[in-house]
Amino acid sequence: MAPFEPVLTRGLGRLDLTDLSVYEAQGGFGALRKALRDMTPEAVVNEVSASNLRGRGGAGFPTGRKWSFLPNDGRPRYLVCNCDEAEPGTFKDHMLLEQTPFQIIEGLVISAYAIRAERAFMYIRGEFLEGYRIFRRALETARERGYVGPRIAGSDFSLDIVVHRGAGAYICGEETAMLESIEGKRGEPRLKPPFPANAGLYGMPTVVNNVETLCCVPHIVERGAQWFSSIGPPKCPGPKIISVSGHVRKPGNYEVPMGIPAGQLIEEYAGGLEPGRRLKAIQPGGGSSAAIFEEDLDTGLDFDSLAAKGTMLGSGGFVVMDDRTCLVRAALTLVRFFEHESCGQCTPCREGGQWVARMVGRLEAGEGSNADLAILRTLNRTLTGTNLCPLGDSIMPFLSSVLRRFPEEFETHVTQAGCPLAAEQAVAAGAGA
């Protein structure tokens, strides 16, 4: 098998791909020309379906299938690019936005063509101010060169791209909350059904795709579905950018073939753990995912393999925790995040999230009780799977997984009224002095 060549990140770090001529010199916008000149929209949809591309935003939904759900009823259709990236541990879209904006634009135009959208929306996380500026500039350039706007690249297809900045809420990354936000309303997930394919932005058929998903599209058009699906597991193939952070020697974004074993990613790409350290836990798919452990290092990083392990690839935020990590503290960081970001619409997430955060906070502070632990062990039954959107269902998975795997660490927080690791480290520090 040929060694894996970066696809989405090709040239990054070496070339200034925010320069249109550099992007073009690397073959950029060739796919756009090809699609608009030689392919019907259906042909593009079919190619993407055949590639088995699955959404990179978190849920891994087959992109071609999503596109084919749109009803053919003459209503206007919209495409929304989700660049709200706020999942803890995930920073790949941020990079794509700042370093290769034309790739996003090319993906947007081709995808809009495929679904016959007349208008596309680029939703950029509010904190990505620099990325927003870069993207705006790139969009202007693309418009000047006729890649966006009326009659793109001499074809009959016209598309306008509207850039919308978020205002700092994680929940606006959820696709229906994003639609509300674009409509100028409070960013809160909508009740489904109806689904965006039927009643999305302004009530019209709408597709929401992640930045990285859209970036895959030009390459599929250019090099064919077969090429794409030959990378990694056939059911969820393709290149995938994993954001590696935590206790590794070389944290960063790595583009890898889908399905690469977790251990290989750590060793071959991220430089391994620091000497003398032992792996304790990994969050493989962002803050919403349950942890995997030492014994899972040969698990492939792809949607299906991780689902089989009771966790998920999610957005590809890969957080490594070594033996210095207090898992109560790690869990606290996450449950506080969800408590803070809950939109508050539904009862379990709003009230339960706050309750869990208080209990874990107590445990971490050494004020917890066995009763708290007993409650936490039952809460995933009433707090998970009972919410309106996946945010509420994300509060418990990491906490439950580490509580199950390292119960003694939690219990010691109760019996010793505080963190044993902190005490250990203090002793170690004292001994070293």
Binding site: E339, Q345, T347, P348, G352, W355, G385
Partner: protein
């Protein structure tokens, strides 16, 4: 198939059932008596899926599903009482109770609270929460009517959704996020919706409470009486809840055809005037120009003598009926015709001329599927609020077009089109429309005619709504609708009544030329205007006015005042001291609707029974009793019964022919006076056309005396076009005096570009500043701004 919908078979808790496709599980379960608890779900609103209490188990689905947003599917097997469901519900209740203050013992909702009830049925035995509860603001003043307890709030958002989906006013919102979420108002402005009280009912807990009812009673101590609101002509059904003979609150009593389960705040809160010192509690007789307490018998004897004597001389008149029950309106015309031998009887104490459309009678529910709603004259948000909710729904949710024709842009909460027409121009417009529609030349009409004609021609169903004031326009509308009906457009008309039972009075025979059931008499007595005119000229000696306040509401105010001053004897039957009663020689203390039983007829002609809720004060009599006593004293006791049931059976017989007539036969119409032209503003120096505008809380009777309405009641105001205001040096908020040929009033000035230049909108029916001092019989007037008042008051307000 039901209504063309396919039937779906499913199983709920072992019972197999068939329901139309699209049915929500929660409703399907209800249909077989299986109760699924809900908080956020409300049958009148879109499912929201927020509270998660309605979780059920559906076979083949891995997760519990919410019954409030899951539609039935063929072969679905649902469990609502499995242990998984019980666990899910217990979980949700546990979450809800975590920070709930548990102040049930002092909570208004206690006893009718869904949180209490579901916790008892499905909840956890004891709270597992060991830490102190989080606190949120309590007793938050949301506006003039509502107090909010944020700690009791379970954030089901029924209130904000009601405010958004039902009223379309968007005043209530959620502020903050997550568990810090609070219910608040947009921009922090007071919550002043006319429909605010409904939120206290739909709130499943005791978070939203009404100031009127807070801490006044416990639900289980209340007695209930089914009644009908008579504060406007919509006739919403409601329940009067009383305790120890005193009204504590009113509550919706859903009638889908009329109120759809809502009542407005005017209807809900107008009852505390009954307990004010200004409530008339015994008859009064004027002695040396001053009204003094008298006995009922004295009042009857004096009135009977005066009326009898005047009747003999054919110099008697009777005004009223629009605020009586159907039975009493019937009795009132019996007094005129069968006791006093006079046809001088007229319910029309305001500018309204007709209360019933002669043909094409619409029902309120016809608004629901109208594709075009054409309104002129009536201001439905102010005069028929609950009907206006239907209009809002038809426009916002069912894409009806809303077209206002008239001199000013009325308030609207949904998209609408205003077509400017000056008072007096509506009739010619209707005629022009009939003409182009008749000839199929819709696009050729001049000016706005083409636009409206095309809208009419395109509409699948047209509902016209007006206020029955302009007989010529009504005539022309009828001709127009005839043309449209010929082309198979379903059409219908609703006439918004100026008084709550205007239509009932019209149908009971309180007009000079028609008897009960619109029966033409072949002769005619005097209209209100003619009676007043005759009285002012000394040609009528005695007037009896029952439940009407022409001194405030009759458009030619100068005439009323002259008439009431001049007439030798005036008897008035009223609940509170009104502007009209102030002129009286005898005042009868009359019972309110809550203190009697009978029927009222709403604007669509629906005759609805209402039942007595409380006893009137001892010396207070019902109008039926007063009228029967007068008949008795006048020697004809057999003519008028004091018993509503007896009166009703007589009336019903006489009304039957009109009810069962063919829809093509027009109803005979009440006679009207010759039209009086709208005054020419040029006839008065610096003159502006005075256009009276209605307001939900205006009025001189109950509304003026009810402490519950006081915070909502507007100060008298006039709205100028900004240009006119500027020319006259009038600024927003200054007090100005408006002077016309007939008198002057002082009002607060406002400006708005919904006012046509050259006109001024003046709040109608305000005792402090009666607009009828400025208007003539046309209902419009002319006035200028008294320059002296402008500067003087500006300094004051500065």
């Amino acid at each position: 198939m039901t209504n063309g919908r396919r039937m779906v078979r499913l199983t709920i808790d072992g019972t197999s059932l068939e329901v139309p496709e699209g049915t929500l599980l929660v409703e399907a379960a209800k249909s077989i008596g299986v109760h699924i608890p809900v908080y956020c779900y409300h049958p009148k609103m879109d499912p929201a899926g927020l509270c998660r209490i309605c979780l059920v188990e559906i076979e083949k689905m891995p997760k519990l599903q919410i019954a409030c947003n899951t539609q039935v599917a063929e072969g679905m097997v649902v469990h609502t009482a499995s242990s998984r469901v019980a666990e899910g519900r217990r979980g949700v209740l546990e979450f809800l109770l975590l920070n709930h203050p548990l102040d049930c013992p002092i909570c208004d909702k206690g006893g009718e609270c869904d949180l209490q009830d579901f916790t008892l049925t499905y909840g956890p035995g004891a709270s597992r929460l060991t830490e102190p509860k989080l606190h949120k603001p309590k007793a938050v003043d949301l506006g003039p009517t509502i107090v909010l307890d944020e700690e009791r709030c379970i954030l089901c958002r029924r209130c904000t959704r009601f405010d958004n989906e039902i009223t379309h006013e968007r005043r209530l919102i959620v502020v903050e996020r997550g568990h810090r979420s609070l219910i608040g108002t947009a921009d922090g402005k007071p919550y002043t919706s006319y429909f605010s009280g409904n939120t206290t009912e739909i709130c499943p807990v005791g978070a939203l409470t009404s100031k009127a009812y807070r801490f006044r009673s416990r639900p289980w101590d209340l007695s209930h009486a089914d009644s009908v609101c008579t504060q406007c002509s919509v006739g919403c059904n409601y329940r009067i809840d009383s305790r120890f003979g005193r009204i504590m609150r009113t509550y919706t009593r859903e009638n889908p055809a009329v109120d759809d389960g809502w009542i407005c705040d005017r209807g809900r809160y107008t009852f505390n005037y009954l307990y004010e010192p200004s409530r008339l509690r015994q008859p009064l007789i004027a002695v040396d120009g001053e009204l003094k307490a008298a006995t009922f018998d004295e009042a009857i004897a004096l009135t009977a003598e005066k009326l009898g004597r005047a009747a003999q001389a054919r110099r008697v008149g009777i005004i009223g009926g629009g605020r009586l029950s159907d039975e009493e309106a019937f009795a009132l015309q019996l007094l005129a015709r069968d006791v006093l031998g006079s046809d001088n009887i007229d319910y029309r104490a305001s500018a309204q001329k007709y209360a019933s459309p002669p043909r094409y009678e619409a029902r309120l529910a016809d608004i629901d599927d109208a594709s075009l709603i054409l309104i002129f004259g009536a201001v439905t948000p102010e005069q028929a609020p609950i009907a206006d909710l239907r209009i809002r729904r038809a426009v916002a949710r069912r894409h009806a077009r809303l077209l206002f024709v008239g001199p000013f842009v009325p308030p609207a909460f949904v998209p609408s089109r205003h077509v400017p027409y000056a008072p007096g121009e509506i009739a010619p417009l209707m005629r022009a429309l009939a003409d182009v529609v008749h000839h199929g030349r819709e696009e050729q009409g001049e000016g706005f005619v083409a636009e409206i004609a095309q809208a009419l021609a395109q509409a699948e169903k047209i509902i016209a709504i007006h206020n029955g004031r302009d007989p010529q326009a009504v005539e022309a509308l009828d001709a127009l609708l005839d043309r449209l009906a010929q082309y198979d457009h379903p059409v219908g008309v609703l006439v918004v009544g100026a008084a709550g039972n205007a239509r009932g009075a019209e149908a009971a025979g309180c007009v000079p030329n028609l008897g009960p059931g619109y029966a033409p008499l072949g002769r005619t007595g005097m209209t209100t205007a003619r009676m007043l005119d005759a009285a002012a000229r000394g040609e009528i000696d005695a007037l009896f006015i029952a439940g009407a306040n022409p001194a405030l509401t009759f458009p030619d105010g100068a005439l009323v005042r002259r008439a009431l001053e001049r007439v030798e004897f005036l008897a008035v039957s009223e609940q509170v001291m009104t502007e009209t009663a102030a002129y009286a020689d005898v005042v009868f203390a009359a019972a309110s609707f809550a203190e009697k039983s009978g029927h009222v007829t709403n604007l669509e002609g629906r005759q609805q029974p209402f039942h007595q809720a409380v006893e009137p004060p001892v010396q207070v009599a019902t109008d039926a009793q007063i009228l029967a006593a007068l008949a008795h004293a006048l020697g004809k006791p057999w003519v008028i019964s004091a018993e509503p049931a007896v009166l009703f059976s007589q009336l019903e017989k006489m009304q039957r022919p009109a009810r069962t007539r063919s829809s093509r036969d027009p109803l005979p119409r009440p006679c009207v006076d010759d039209p009086v032209p709208v005054p020419d503003p040029a006839s008065w120096p610096d003159g502006l056309t005075v256009i009276p505008i209605p307001h939900l809380y205006a009025g001189g009777g109950a509304a003026a005396h009810d402490p519950g309405l006081a915070p909502m009641r507007p100060q008298p105001f006039a709205v100028f076009h900004p240009q006119d205001a500027q020319q006259r040096g009038v600024a927003d908020g200054t007090r100005v005096r408006l002077r016309g040929p007939g008198g002057e009033i002082e009002v607060q000035a406002r400006t708005g570009d919904h006012v046509p230049p050259g006109s001024v909108l003046v709040l109608a029916d305000m005792p402090e500043a009666p607009v009828n001092k400025l208007t003539n019989a046309s209902g419009y007037g002319v006035a200028c701004v008294d320059a002296a008042t402008v500067t003087a008051s500006q300094e004051l307000s500065a």
